[in-house]
């Protein structure tokens, strides 16, 4: 392993600009003559718009334009789309209501877009917006997904607010497993609604060049090509060749910046409309109101065991809140990203899942770090832990007894796990967590009047999303390959153009490590180009832990072509047969001789083209590739959380957190560990403190950092993070992906630890101090008390 090759913890190249304040985020971009957009948002969760009078706003100082849904309709712009078709049990397609860019006739959640004011300064736009008079006809709201059916009808297209009633698995076989079960464990749970909260709020700058009739949109996107595709092909803003989308430095996404939103659509459209650049930057409360939220499931789940403790069946019914509109990939999250993982790490012969997706008068809900897989892992790992406890089995050994040990393994819910070593991760986690020492630590806590518990989570996820034909057969509107282009310059430096997008994932370093490894050149001679549709031809972007497994595989494939071409050039220069050329550590040699030429010299020779016939071998050294994965990848691991609870205050302290994950081959362990840390923190946030709350009128009451509790440094411990390795067989680099694992694994580990400490299962997420205090009052009394 070289110092900057695969497997080395190379310090990040991108850090220098970020630690010196030279990052370039969308809000740092200003265009000459730029105007500022302010969105007038609905104060009501559900209302008809009877009249909008914007005359006073239009006459306000500095105002260039005021636009409403009518202007969008007059320009025949399409609505925002949901790109994954789900069919109900009865075969009918999902029932999606229209999602206009600016509201037309009706608003459906607090924060819905009623009008946009564009002015010379943001203050002027904001002041003018206060002068817009809107007559609303207020309608009843419904925020709770369990009350959506039978609630006020939100979209005419979706009777009973039902988008689909979907199912997966074999109902008859599952019912039979339950009928013959020796023990059944049942669980009702709510997977709490979360707000992603990347620290950089969303932003957009639309810029129109009337000379070339071209729109440039700077936007906080995880997938700028997908944004361009949707805005071109479905919304009809401009054809792709007249439309450039740039996602520069992006300050975190966690899923929320995958989607195509109203605000960037309006900035791009309005820039052409008023022939002036238009900029919008979300403030934090707008982000709470209008970024797509995550999770929000109400679930009943059951697991069946035989007398020997073997899991024989699992059945689940989930109501999934879609919010007021179907966001870009919303429909796929509680279906193919959720129920397909309900087998967990276990050999379960029969599984049946039903999912009812409903509209409510709340912000749209879509993928948030993990997207469906944290919800699945919470169901499975809570049930397994409870089943072990109810049947008097050790939770670690009960898991081990049911682990899948033979690979490949076909689950009853579509997925075919390719490889894994679940017991290996468990053993290592038990050792790191000092599980044997737990009874003594529990006794020590009890002596102080505290409650201590440990909880397991043996999670699995499907990443490397995904084989295009497979997702196409399941309803996806796109293919999920990735592209790469390798441009070798005449002096031997390299530019990698990738359709992946880094918004914290470290691609400028990790992708350069692959090039360094393969071509034997310094990472300083490699630059990674991403996030610009004019530079990179096409790409599908970064989400679902796919940039390594899919994006880097595309680069690897393009590097194969570079190496093959360079060997031909080297053969001409060294006057040897191509088949006698070997390439290692950046040098081409002729087998069995001391004749050699380095990579940079071959690059130069490829461009000067003096040593070969340009009709037989094309000059230049530039290759591209598309990689379409052959399977999902299956990162998995075992996390163990240990908590101490003060029963007098309800405060939960995470005392130890151990994660042992199998991500396949690691590119940069430092970066991998960092991804795991961040994911765990978000999962602990979900388990202990985060939760979006709408009141009965549909008002979001957690719309600032004073009301929505974010994990802070003093609410978390340092983590013990380690890995095991089974190389992924479905991509050339053997990697599985690590971006979401922490957020998928940790919520059940934390809740299992709390319930272990409490001695009962009655606690919901988030386990806030008041909730834990109440739960602690209900615990079985200890003999000493």
């Amino acid at each position: 392993m070289s110092a900057t090759g695969l497997g080395a913890s190379v310090k990040r190249k991108e850090d220098i600009r970020f630690i010196t304040g030279k990052g370039r985020y969308v809000d740092d971009i200003n265009r000459p003559g730029q105007a500022h957009a302010y969105f007038l948002r609905s104060p009501h969760a559900h209302a008809t718009i009877d009249k909008i009078d914007a005359s006073a706003a239009l006459a306000s100082p500095g105002v260039a334009a005021v636009f409403t849904g009518q202007d969008i309709a007059d320009d025949k712009l399409g609505g925002l789309i949901c790109g994954w078709m789900i069919h109900s049990k009865d075969g009918s397609p999902m029932k999606a209501g229209a999602h206009p860019v600016l509201a037309q006739g009706k608003v459906r959640y607090v924060g819905d877009h009623v009008a946009v004011v564009i002015a010379d300064t943001l203050s002027q736009a904001r002041d003018a917006a206060e002068k817009i008079v809107v007559d609303y006809g207020v309608l009843p709201a419904v925020a709770d997904p369990a009350k959506a059916v039978g609630g006020p009808n939100i979209h005419d297209a979706a009777p009973d607010n039902t988008v689909y009633n979907w199912h997966l698995g074999d109902k008859a076989a599952t019912d039979a497993a339950f009928a013959s079960a020796a023990h059944v464990t049942k669980l009702d749970l709510v997977n709490n609604r979360l707000i992603p909260n990347p620290m950089e709020p969303r932003a957009a700058v639309g810029d129109y060049d009337s000379g070339t009739d071209t729109i440039t949109l700077y936007t906080t996107s995880q997938n700028p090509h997908v944004a361009r595709l949707v805005l071109s092909a479905f919304i009809g803003l401009a054809p792709e060749h007249k439309f450039r989308v740039i996602a520069p430095d992006v300050g975190g996404g966690f899923g929320s910046k995958i989607f195509i939103y109203a605000e960037e659509t309006v900035c791009a459209w309005a820039a052409r409309k008023i022939d002036r650049p238009v900029k919008w930057t979300s403030d934090r409360t707008e982000a709470f109101l209008s970024d797509a939220h995550g999770r929000d499931h109400v679930t009943h789940a059951e697991v069946a065991l035989d007398a020997a403790g073997k899991v024989t069946g699992l059945r689940v019914h989930t109501i999934a809140n879609m919010g007021a509109y179907l966001s870009t990939f919303a429909s796929s999250v509680p279906t193919y990203l959720y129920a397909t993982l309900l087998s967990g790490q276990y050999n379960i012969p029969a599984i049946y899942a039903e999912v009812d997706a409903v509209y409510t008068t709340t912000a749209p809900v879509d993928a948030y770090r993990g997207a469906g897989r944290p919800e699945a892992s919470f169901v499975v790992e809570r049930l397994i832990e409870m089943a072990a406890r109810e049947t008097g089995r050790d939770p670690a050994e009960f898991r081990r007894q049911n682990f899948i040990t033979q690979f490949p393994h076909q689950t009853p819910v579509i997925m075919a796990y390719d490889i894994g070593n679940f017991a290996g991760a468990l053993d290592k986690a038990l050792e790191h967590a000092d599980y044997k020492g737990l009874p003594a630590r529990k006794a020590a806590s009890a002596a102080k009047g505290k409650l201590r518990g440990a909880g397991f989570s043996a999670f699995i996820e499907a990443c490397g999303i995904a084989p295009s034909a497979a997702v196409g057969s399941l309803g996806a509107g796109v293919g999920l390959w990735e592209s790469a282009e390798v441009r070798v310059n005449p002096i031997g430096t390299v530019e990698i153009l990738t359709g992946s997008h880094s918004h914290g994932q470290s691609h400028e370093t990790t992708f350069a490590q692959l090039v360094s490894e393969r071509l034997g050149i310094s990472i300083d001679n490699v630059s990674i180009v991403h996030g610009d549709t004019d530079k990179v031809q096409m790409g599908m972007g970064t989400y679902g832990s796919r940039s390594g497994a899919v994006g880097m595989s595309a680069i690897s494939k393009a590097l194969d072509k570079i190496e093959a071409k360079a060997k031909k050039v080297a053969g001409h220069v060294l006057e040897a047969a191509e088949s006698d050329i070997e390439f290692k550590d950046g040098k081409f040699t002729v087998k069995g001789t001391d004749k050699a030429i380095d990579f940079a010299s071959v690059a130069l020779q490829a461009y000067v083209a003096h040593k070969f016939n340009g009709q037989e071998l094309e000059p230049g050294l530039k290759e591209s590739a598309f990689w379409d994965p052959t399977n999902f990848t299956f990162p998995a691991g075992v996390h163990i959380c240990e908590v101490e609870i003060d029963p007098d205050t309800g405060i939960v302290t995470v005392e130890r957190y151990t994660a042992v994950d199998d991500f396949g081959k690691l590119i940069n362990p430092m970066v991998v560990h960092g991804q795991v840390h961040g994911g765990i923190a978000q999962g602990i946030g979900q388990a202990l403190m985060e939760g979006a709350k709408y009141d009965e009128d549909g008002q979001l009451v957690t719309a600032s950092y004073m009301d929505y509790t974010m994990p802070r440094a003093d609410s978390l411990p340092s983590f013990t993070v380690d890995t095991i390795e089974t190389a992924c067989p479905s991509n050339p680099l053997g990697i599985k992906g690590c971006g979401e694992a922490g957020a998928i694994a940790s919520p059940p580990a934390v809740i299992n630890a709390i319930t272990d400490a409490l001695g009962h299962e009655d606690i919901a997420m988030p386990a806030t101090p008041v909730a834990v205090w109440r739960a602690a009052q209900k615990r079985p009394r200890l003999a000493a008390e």
């Binding site: 310090k11 970020f18 630690i19 620290m199 934090r284 970066v671 961040g678 994990p711 802070r712 440094a713």
Partner: protein
Amino acid sequence: MVQVAMTVNGKAVSANVDSRTLLVQFLRENLRLTGTHVGCDTSQCGACVVHVDGKAIKSCTTLAVACEGASVTTIEGLAHGTKLHPMQQAFQDNHGLQCGFCTPGMIMTAVDLVNRKGNALDEATIRHELEGNICRCTGYHNIVKSIAQGAREMATQPQAAE
């Protein structure tokens, strides 16, 4: 409009601004010092932390006119040329950042923390003192390590007075 003058990163600056202009707007929009970020507008997240007369403040809730005559240091003023401040170096060494958006505020807060609490900082102190800074990427694990290293190295490398 009102005239405001101050020293930013050692340079005298002045401008005619709307009286409601916040310090962060003055830095970002008038001076084009875009390293200082706005993450929440409500003094909760700390992405906007700069030093005013040597003390950390949140520039998203400070009026520019309130800094008349003050000496302001932003993230752009921390390094000496190409030589990184030890706290900046520590963040790179320990992978204390991912997306980089909270990072300028974290580093400015960390330097202030060392100025107030000294160079030997335990984990509990660092975690407690970060109560005004939110990071969504790192889980704080590597930020805590970065600050501990940066604090130690600030003792051995003399810093210019702000």
